[in-house]
């Protein structure tokens, strides 16, 4: 496979569009996925959600400890949710990094 075709199929550069279409699947940062959102947008929304969970857990913990509002299990469940979504995010990130590293190891 010529290099420009490879870079096109990876979505980098402005290379050959035909190479993209010949794969049958649109690949690349700008290619919309069947769901209608790009992977980057999905990742950003996941990040936002994880951040919101963390903030929610912190608010509930402070509310319980300082103001005495809310219940223990509510705060713990919020913390658990925050931890799980963060773990999921880290797992996704690890897989992504692993994939990129494997790509970088590709012999040209």
């Amino acid at each position: 496979m010529p290099i420009n075709a490879l870079s096109a199929s990876l979505g980098y550069g402005t290379g050959n569009i035909d190479a993209n279409e010949s794969l049958g699947v649109p690949i690349g940062p700008s290619a919309p996925e069947p769901g209608g959102q790009t992977f980057a947008a999905e990742l950003t929304s996941l990040l936002t959600e994880v951040n919101r969970d963390q903030a929610d857990a912190a608010t509930k913990a402070i509310d319980l400890a300082v103001n005495g509002n809310g219940s223990i299990h509510d705060a713990m469940i919020a913390a658990e949710k925050a931890e799980s979504s963060f773990r999921l995010l880290m797992e996704m990130r690890n897989r992504l990094i692993e994939g990129v590293n494997r790509l970088l190891e590709t012999q040209i």
Binding site: S71, D74, S84, R95
Partner: protein
């Protein structure tokens, strides 16, 4: 994600059982209260549980079948008050009868224990759900 669904469901159950414990404690605390804001002796309170669909009903058909538990109302026990003869009591009527709350201490202790066990059962369900999620996150790793 269904783990968050079960978190939500278990959270509602924990809150409901917590309320049941609060009510049993209140009933025990007022087991001898001969006066109340409504007039007459204190009457025992009990919670009514109701299975309710989750708030975010946009999931799959199966997700929408899952029910959380809510407490739509707290009912006041209408059974007659206990009556004892104690003419020296300030709330005794002209015959010397004092009306005491319709709270049975033994019954409330049993309710307290049942609520405690139900709380623990829900915590176990949460633990299982959590463990499953964490195992699922380890898919593809060697260990």
């Amino acid at each position: 994600m269904s783990f968050f669904t079960s978190l939500q469901v278990t959270g509602s159950a924990l809150a409901a059982e917590r309320l049941r414990v609060d009510l049993a404690s209140a009933n025990l605390a007022n087991a001898n209260s001969t006066r109340s804001v409504e007039g007459g002796p204190y009457r025992r309170r009990d919670a009514v549980f109701q299975a309710t669909p989750l708030e975010n009903g946009f999931g799959s058909e199966l997700d929408r079948a899952v029910r959380a538990v809510t407490v739509p109302q707290i009912v006041i026990d209408q059974s007659p008050p206990r009556e004892i003869f104690n003419p020296g009591h300030p709330d005794a009527d002209e015959r010397g009868i004092v009306q005491l709350p319709n709270v049975s201490v033994v019954e409330e202790i049993v309710n307290l224990r049942t609520a405690q066990r139900a709380y623990e059962a829900n915590l176990s369900a949460l633990g299982v759900s959590r463990e499953m999620a964490q195992r699922a996150l380890r898919i593809g790793r060697t260990a």
